[in-house]
């Protein structure tokens, strides 16, 4: 296999792993908040998290540019202060994959958390456990399989992310070209065997991930 094919594979795995970790850090607390707390702006937060699921990925990518680009709301001050911008770096691919995968984790984990018997949490409270320790020691362990299934789905989504990545990170071979982008390039330039190999690898990986998610989901139910 060509160097660029291998580097696309390595990049894709790295991006998907980091995006999944970011999802765990951001998504699990979000899922808990949406499942268990009533607060102002909850409906709006729910909407924002879910939106990437229904928007065309290019639209999500466009919003990310508006937010993080060199002239973006957050990107401009960072660029002014450091001369660095996330756009067209592999970090941007991680960011795009994270945002695109987040709704899959949050929705799955939230459903799992909502199905935990609230009386078990209240029992912990009346025995003197604080809410956050109850969440860590009672709620999340009981929702474990649903959360893991959500993480697996998020990993799969991150692995296959194309549109938002192209918008924010570009398609720079060896730098930001993940497998889906490399497939696109291969097809455009007529490298049929490269495209076929990458497609086969991505299909096989996705099948494995779906089987794992299915098993976790069955155990959660």
């Amino acid at each position: 296999m060509a160097d660029e094919t291998l580097s696309a594979l390595a990049l894709s795995v790295r991006v998907a792993v980091l995006a999944t970790l970011a999802n765990a850090v951001v998504g699990i607390p979000l899922a808990y908040l949406l499942a268990r707390r009533r607060f102002r702006g909850r409906a709006l937060l729910d909407l924002l998290v879910t939106l990437p699921l229904v928007l065309p990925p290019t639209v999500t990518g466009y919003y990310l540019i508006v937010l993080l680009g060199r002239r973006g709301w957050l990107g401009a001050p960072v660029y002014a202060a450091t001369g660095w911008s996330i756009t067209f770096t592999w970090y941007a691919a991680v960011m795009a994959a994270t945002v695109m995968a987040l709704p899959l984790l949050v929705r799955t984990a939230r459903a799992a958390i909502e199905s935990v018997d609230r009386d078990l949490e209240k029992a912990a409270w009346t025995l003197g456990r604080s809410e956050w320790r109850t969440a860590l020691e009672v709620t999340l362990p009981l929702a474990r399989n649903g959360i893991l299934a959500g993480l697996v789905l998020a990993f799969a989504r991150a692995l296959g992310e194309f549109g938002a990545t192209l918008m924010l990170a570009g398609n720079i071979p060896g730098k930001t070209a993940t497998v889906p982008l490399a497939i696109y390039t291969a097809v455009q330039t007529g490298e049929e065997t490269t495209a076929l190999a990458l497609v086969a690898i991505l299909t096989a990986l996705s099948c494995v991930v779906l089987v794992i998610a299915g098993r976790l989901g069955a155990r959660a139910a």
Binding site: D117, T126, L127, G128, S130
Partner: protein, 264 residues
């Protein structure tokens, strides 16, 4: 000894009041029985006192300090709760369930000390259920589960104890055994408030009775003054005679409902 004070409490779910204007005070060593028909708000009142629901108005005060804003560990060191005995989800042993009563006394990320285990054992011993220690909570009888929950609350060493229908679903013998434990707890200086459906239980164990009807404290006072044919008629819509017997030279009251007169 501690004093629980409930002042002008309004309580309910999602901002809709189930009950309002509930005020009473309870001293350490005292047993108060909460009577009232189904749906009258007894459980909701308890959940509000325990801080599981935010009050819609008024305050819950222990020893002069409002409980609003107390952390769970601090609250649990003062206020114990005996829920209705349920089947149980996890097959913890009875000893482990009782040991959970020590949660609020054990530091963060510490495990129960030898003293905690000894206290749990002693509590089981005192309630006469030490032989159950190794049995799974999910496999003991209803009465034994209720005793386990009482033991758990005692291991918590609370100064105020809230018991939600501790005799519900128990057979006659276990009901009497639980009530006699309730008197013992009060004798140790704990303030006990318990709900029940049986006014006779109030005669047996309560110093005072609060009658919660349609979300309001309809009557509050010494048991003999509150539990009368008139108040029972008003609350439950049935005809009852209250009969005084003499046992060992002391008067004992019992309720005898009239099935004939209660038909209408």
């Amino acid at each position: 000894m501690s004093r629980l004070e409930v002042a002008g409490l309004a309580f309910g779910y999602h901002g809709r009041a189930v009950g309002r204007d509930v005020s009473f005070a309870l001293e350490g060593g005292e047993v108060m029985c909460l009577l009232g028909p189904n749906g009258g708000g007894k459980t909701t009142l308890f959940r509000t006192i325990l801080g599981l629901l935010s009050p819609l108005g008024g305050t819950v005060v222990i020893d002069g300090e409002s409980l609003a804003g107390w952390s769970r560990p601090r609250l649990a060191r003062v206020l114990g709760y005996v829920p209705q005995a349920q089947l149980g989800v996890f097959p913890f042993t009875v000893r482990e369930v009782v040991l959970m009563g020590r949660t609020a006394h054990i530091g963060p990320f510490a495990t129960p000390s030898r003293r905690d285990v000894a206290l749990a054992e002693a509590t089981l011993e005192a309630l006469g259920v030490a032989h159950l220690a190794e049995r799974p909570y999910t496999e003991v009888s209803g009465g034994e589960r209720q005793m386990t929950l009482v033991a758990r609350a005692l291991a918590q060493e609370p100064r105020v104890l809230v018991m939600d229908e501790p005799t519900a679903s128990l057979d006659f013998g276990n009901q009497v055994r639980v009530l006699s434990r309730v008197r013992e707890l009060a004798a140790r200086g704990i303030a006990v408030i318990l709900s029940t459906h049986d006014p006779d239980q109030a005669f047996l164990c309560a110093d005072r009775v609060a009658l919660l009807h349609a979300g309001r404290l309809a009557h509050l006072g010494p048991t003999a003054e509150v539990v009368t044919p008139a108040t029972l008629r008003e609350t439950y819509g049935v005809d009852v005679d209250v009969v005084t017997l003499t046992r060992e030279g002391r008067p004992v009251r019992v309720c005898v409902p009239s099935l004939e007169r209660s038909k209408a």
